[in-house]
Amino acid sequence: MKRPGLGTALAVVAFLTFFLGPFLWQVLTSLWPDGELTRPWPSHLTGANYQSVLFGRPFLWAVLNSLVVATLTTLFCLTVGASAAFALAKLEFRGRGLLLSAALGVSMFPPIATVSPLYLILNAVGLRDSLVGLALPYTTFALPLTLWVLTSFFRQLPDELYRAARVDGCTPFGAFRRVLLPLAAPGLATTAILVFIFAWNEFLYALTFLSTPEKRTVPVAISLFASEYKEPWGEIAAASVVATLPLVVLTVLFQRRIVSGLTAGAVKE
């Protein structure tokens, strides 16, 4: 490879500014003293916005709610998805390809198309306005992604392992649980991260199905952040940083995994 030229350097700087700039501006806004927002530059930085967001508003509840919903969704998806993906990758049966395409098709549904029936069902079974009731539709929407990523991981495991386990007297499920599942741990981790991010970020269902303010998730809480006389921009920025920082850290730490997970189903098929 040749040395990077001026063009490359300029392009890198331009892309970095475009992608990181808005986020860094948000971080700066969150540290900006209230009442100084009209000035071109803050006179000093302050943690006051964080203090009022975390302790003056029920925002911490929203963080907790989001944690619960995202964790539940991840658990549901991995429990259901792992065995299904194993079956899709290692067992021979008719309609395999069809099922995978159907799963992909499901993930393309516009969520709005399913809002009205889901609302009525959740209402009928008494799960509307509950965090578990939110995790269920999240699971159906994240399952296709789970299946695609996990199936491609299971495919990479050599078939001999599965056959050897069967010869040693394992049932198909036993072979899956004792031999393949532990080996697929990196795949499970990748899936867990992707599903968690999906559930943490989802907005439409959370806005529609939750009505009690104490049950709001982070995106809903941030979208409804308002003060009576003016938009509290500093506090919104602080809340946004709180909602985002864990994800940013997660993404930067696991970027290789996330990239391989995102492109696994899409490109290799």
Binding site: M1, P4, T8, A11, V12, F15, L16, F18, F19, P22, F23, Q26, G81, S83, A84, A87, L99, A102, V106, M108, F109, P110, P111, I112, A113, T114, V115, S116, P117, Y119, L120, I121, T140, L143, P144, I197, W200, F203, L204, L207, T208, P219, I222, S223, W233, I236, A237, S240, A243, T244, L247, V248, T251, V252, Q255, V259, L262, T263, A266, V267
Partner: protein, 274 residues
Amino acid sequence: MPAVLVLAVVALYPVLAAIWLSLHRFILVFGERRFTGLANYVYLVGDARFWSALGNTAYFTAVAVTVELLLAVPLALLLNRAFPGRGLLRASVLVPWAIPTVVSARLWAWMFNPDYGLINRLLGGAEINWLGAPGYALHAAILVDVWKTTPFVALLVLAGLQGIPEDLYKAARVDGASTWRQFRAITLPLLKPALLLAVLFRSLDAFRVFDAIYVLTEGGPANTTETLSIYAYKTLMRSGDFGYGSALSVATFLCVVLLAVVWLKWLGREEGRR
């Protein structure tokens, strides 16, 4: 195995139920619910607000996806090269992708703020009301979408790039082909399936846009940013009209299916040609 079956049922049922609901006059608060056949769809065809929402959605999708591709290809080419700091660029590119859409919409709403937002400051104290002026607002929403999803498109393109054998370039260099010529003759044709796939994913995704626009403008000013999802949401949840709201959601669903069929056909033809 049962898991897969469950998935099929659970995912299919709501759509079928939505179609069924759309054949009713169903106002939740009045408890009114009776079968009216295609009445909702007859009304929909004559509903000017539906057509303007459809137009906004189509415009949003077409412009957003085009700009994202135009930015993502150079970005992917850049990420495919070895240079100091590539890891940093790769990681930071994922930051907008990981930020919840609602948060990124709020973040941009702040930058679009007419009085002291960053954008008007950078424009030297301009006083453009980005989100309040028809004509500007939809483009502002497009910018938010571009910022958030270009990284994802770039990753798909990058995966496609990495599938192109290095030998082809070596051979081309031996033949004395210029960088531009190499790009036109090797990269672009071989990248076409990956590009089409990205267009497929992104356009289906952009067509159901809700979060970003809802937070930025709620469909305003004067409905100039109202997309199908927003109109359907308002009809369902604000007016409580589940019959017509379902008809609108089904219409959105059908548009997405139509779009998917067209793209998949094209994609299939490309694959067949190779």
